[in-house]
Amino acid sequence: METLEPILAQHPFLKGLDAKYLKLIVGCASNVVFQAGEFIFRTGENADHFYIVRQGKIVIETYSPIKGPITIHTRQQGEVLGWSWLVPPYKWRFDARALELTRAIALDGKCLRSKLEEDHDLGYELMKRFTLIIAERLEATRLQLLDIYGDNT
């Protein structure tokens, strides 16, 4: 059977990770496929996974009874989706839906959480990597809020 190790080792998010940690992470990984329109997760559900997108496009959205679905961001090939699995109470804050046929590697957050608690070196390493992603999203969201192409900036 094809192992996910070489794919994960090459991914920028995990690049340079100690081989023993990579093995541990591979143990929590599985291949997943979502059809166009399929929900990957919904607001309020347990956040027990995060995803490394291999192909396709995912929209992160919220729902307004008046406006309907409101898109916040899209994620595509090579990007990491989801960090609510790291933050109590481990619930998704938004919906994620595949815009087109999407293949991804799902990483079991529950399984990883216990491993991060057991081994704080691994915990710190992964936290550093997720902090970069969270900081990048925060910066992007601030820029979005500034409405830089509007009349006021």
Partner: protein, 287 residues
């Protein structure tokens, strides 16, 4: 004595850069709800040669004069093409112009994008909003001389799908195998199936050789600041990043000081600047 308007009507006189030359509106296209493109020609068809990135001072009689970049193909010097977002007095009046109306043109002025220096390099173009207009001549040039450049990448960010400029052209460019075109919007509306998120998010995913890449960036100043940070993270050097500056202008020829940007004049020393020459200015407030 002849009035200014009479002098202008006498015809083209490029020896006097403060005297507008008379051009006729030949064609007007609506690009978006607030942006339009018009083609200007002289009655004798002489037109005017320009380099990608240069701008003209466009004058509407009795209203005023504004700097507007040339957005057309540099190969076609007969027609001057300008893409204008109607934001205030002059540009809103320009939107009312009709075919056959006359516009005063002074120019072309300013330093162009470094299309010659970029030969043999990968080129990444990052445009935000109306910033795609001054970069379109670069795209025409690069595609017309495709074999002289490495990878060509365009990252374009707009406010919403309805604000995307040159949509048909973007689709044509995207269909090419030798041009990597990525478009994103800050807010999605309607049936948009493309990327949503700020334009800077596209940069980490682009593939180029950072040591051999020239970046050309144009858009609102905040967008350019964050774009530069992302490009530097990708190991581009400050010398290889070029930005287009925007300041109020009056003379357009380095006399009046209206467009002062630190120790530089945007009209003469720019509008295209090398980031390494202006990095300190871009970081300062109220310059």
């Amino acid at each position: 004595m002849a009035t200014t308007l009479e002098k202008i009507k006498e015809g083209l006189d490029r020896s006097q850069p403060w005297m507008p030359n008379l051009f006729r509106v030949e064609r007007i296209r609506k690009e978006t709800y607030d942006t339009f493109t018009f083609d200007l020609e002289t009655s004798d068809g002489a037109g005017c040669a320009f380099q990608p990135g240069q701008f003209n001072m466009l004058y509407i009689y009795g209203v005023g004069e504004v700097p507007i970049s040339i957005s057309g193909d540099p190969k076609n010097s007969r027609t001057l093409v300008h893409t204008i977002r109607a934001v205030g007095t002059v540009t809103k009046n320009m939107r009312q112009l009709k075919r056959g109306d006359l516009v005063g043109v002074r120019g072309p002025f300013g330093r162009p994008w470094p299309v010659e220096d970029a030969k043999g390099h990968d080129v990444i173009i990052v445009a935000g909003g109306i910033g795609l207009a001054p970069l379109r001549p670069v795209i025409y040039h690069l595609l017309a001389h495709r074999e002289q450049y490495g990878k060509i990448i365009l990252h374009y960010g707009a406010r919403t799908p309805d604000d995307i400029l040159f949509r048909q052209e973007l689709e044509t460019w995207r269909a090419r195998f030798d041009f990597d075109v990525q478009v994103t919007v800050d807010r999605s509306t309607g049936s948009w199936q493309g990327n949503v998120g700020v334009v800077t998010l596209l940069i980490p995913k682009a593939t180029f050789d950072p040591l051999q890449t020239i970046a050309m960036v144009c858009g609102p100043e905040i967008m350019m600041r964050f774009t530069v940070l992302e490009l530097l993270k990708r190991d581009l050097t400050e010398e290889n990043i070029f930005l287009s500056g925007e300041r109020n202008m009056k003379c357009g020829i380095g006399h009046c000081g209206h467009c002062q940007f630190g120790h530089l004049f945007v009209c003469n020393d720019g509008p295209v600047f090398r980031y390494s020459d202006t990095a300190d200015l871009f970081k300062k407030r109220e310059i």
